[in-house]
């Protein structure tokens, strides 16, 4: 069993981070929400629907740890993939691809193939792909985990702007404390074996967050509380 006794509400338009060490079930939770995995017991509802119904009504934009772009498709065609599957017309596809590539600052790279882009750009393309259709919920599983710190900072700032512009609900898995505090309106601290929630922290940081907010006392206080929560989850093991 990867998870037990997890009880949580995510409100519309929230940015919720799940943080915890490996094995705490944060990815499993995200996959259960997306109906990629079935919980053995308990209830999970997404806008009043079961995860399966929500998936069938195409409520999820999922961003994986790796970009998972299809190498034989250009960036433009990769972003259009969900639109083709969901039956958007050619005009709608073109309009949405242009709009979302603009959102993630990939204008001008439409005709490139994935291998011609850096890792950070590929991950931005995969975010564009998740944004291209009207998903209610953006699920992001350590999307910047494989990227270096500088690129990561940059993409975190961009993601915040994107969230402000699209007002999507985002569930974001990470194991970086600064990333979780910087991005979230709500931070869910988890601990392993069995995976459970040790703390839920509602952030009081302002919506407008420049990168240097990370040096303010409010930020550091929140980071300390997350760290305490992570430590509490580990205490019985040492």
């Amino acid at each position: 069993m990867a998870l037990s006794d997890v009880s949580l509400d995510i409100g519309k338009g929230e940015f919720v981070s799940f943080i915890g060490p490996s094995g705490c079930g944060k990815t499993t939770l995200l996959r259960a929400i997306a109906d990629l995995e079935q919980p053995s017991s308990g209830t999970l509802t997404v806008n009043g629907l079961s995860p399966r119904e929500a998936r069938e009504s195409r409520s999820y934009g999922y961003v994986f740890q790796a970009p998972a772009l299809y190498p034989w498709r250009t960036i433009e065609k990769n972003v259009a993939l969900p639109l083709e599957i969901m039956g958007y017309t050619r005009e709608q596809q073109a309009e949405r691809v242009a709009r979302t590539l603009d959102l993630v600052n990939l204008k001008g790279f439409e005709q490139r193939f994935p291998w011609q882009l850096s890792g950070g750009m590929q991950q931005r393309a995969s975010i564009a792909r998740a944004l291209a259709f009207d998903a209610d919920l953006l699920l992001m599983d350590e999307p910047f985990g494989a990227l270096d710190e500088i690129v990561r900072d940059h993409l975190n700032a961009e993601l915040l702007k994107l969230w402000a512009r699209t007002s999507k609900t985002i569930a974001f898995v990470t194991h970086s404390i600064p990333e979780a505090v910087f991005l979230s309106t709500k931070i869910v601290v988890m601990s392993p074996r069995p995976g459970r929630v040790t703390d839920i922290i509602v952030s009081d940081l302002p919506p407008e967050r420049p990168l240097d907010i990370r040096e303010t006392p409010e930020f550091l206080r929140l980071a300390a509380r997350v760290r305490d929560g992570l430590r509490a989850g580990h205490a019985y093991e040492e």
């Binding site: 998936r55 069938e56 999820y60 994986f64 790796a66 998972a68 993939l81 969900p82 599957i85 193939f113």
Partner: protein, 303 residues
């Protein structure tokens, strides 16, 4: 980019070719000189120099092992010396073999792809078909080819009343397809299963249908596997056709040339036919390779 004719590209190849040539010419001496003594004896030649002996051993009418230049001369003669519809023309026979090979290759590839799709998309067919497919290749083709040719020819020319040429062509193509489908099935099963889990998960989050997942993910993922197995398949298809031409006194095709050459002790003819078969195989493999490059270029594969 380096040119096509740079030494670094062809140098090693030429060295191997040169080495093989030397071994070949020496082996020809070793095998043909004993017979040359007999030839001299019958012709009442009592004195000869060593260079003369060597020269004669490399230019016999029916050598045990023909020298490379003899084979090339024979091929030149057989390809250019006769009209294209002459039974002595190697091009005439090559065309017969090529046409059956292409029918066999195309139908074998289609069959192979169809079986692979059935296996990948359905667990029951996976369990029930795969052992039979593997068993099919454990049967020696030399044993089963004559039966296919004889039964196939008789059924089609007799019961179905097909023209004899068409009946011959189809029965050879069946053997060719029998050999060609296997690498395609094995390769495509692997290829259609090659997408990564997250690529498949992505399709699931879009609630894509099985057909959409197949055409937008599994099929393109399988392309490298398809072309690799088609290269194996087309070479096997040539072998299948030639084997199909060996029995039942087939009158046309490279296999028939091999057979009649061996019946009349015409070693030059046998070797010329052998070289023609391998040249045909090589050419077909190259054509598949070119098609592969064109498709990969369209798919944006990193050069």
């Amino acid at each position: 980019m380096r040119g096509w004719l740079t030494v670094s590209r062809f140098g090693p190849l030429l060295i191997v070719l040169l080495g093989l040539g030397i071994i070949w010419y020496l082996a020809a001496l070793w095998l043909n000189i004993p017979a040359q003594y007999g030839i001299y004896q019958r012709a009442d030649v009592t004195e000869w120099s060593t260079p003369q002996l060597i020269g004669d051993a490399w230019s016999q009418q029916k050598p045990k092992l023909p020298a490379p230049h003899q084979i090339i001369a024979e091929m030149w003669q057989e390809t250019t010396g006769y009209a294209l519809n002459d039974k002595k023309s190697l091009i005439f026979h090559g065309w017969i073999t090529l046409s059956a090979t292409l029918y066999g290759f195309v139908s074998g590839t289609l069959l192979g792809i169809g079986l692979a799709i059935a296996i990948v998309l359905n667990r029951a067919t996976n369990r029930s078909l795969m052992p039979w497919i593997i068993a099919s290749q454990a049967v020696p083709i030399l044993a089963i080819a004559p039966m296919i040719v004889v039964i196939g020819y008789n059924v089609m020319a007799g019961a179905l009343d097909l023209p004899t040429d068409a009946a011959r062509l189809v029965s050879k193509a069946v053997i060719s397809a029998y050999l060609a489908f296997f690498p395609v099935t094995v390769g495509m099963v692997k290829g259609l299963r090659s997408p990564e889990i997250i690529q498949l998960d992505l399709m699931r989050t879009y609630n894509a249908s099985a057909a959409q997942t197949f055409w937008k993910l599994r099929w393109p993922s399988a392309m490298p596997f398809l072309f690799t197995s088609m290269k194996v398949a087309i070479a096997a298809a040539v072998i299948g056709t030639v084997v199909g031409e060996l029995p039942t006194g087939a009158t046309g095709g490279i296999g028939a040339r091999l057979l009649s050459g061996s019946q009349f002790g015409q070693t030059l003819q046998i070797w010329a036919a052998l070289f023609a078969a391998s040249a045909l195989s090589a050419l077909l493999v190259i054509i598949v390779g070119v098609a592969e490059r064109l498709v990969f270029a369209r798919m944006g594969v990193k050069p």
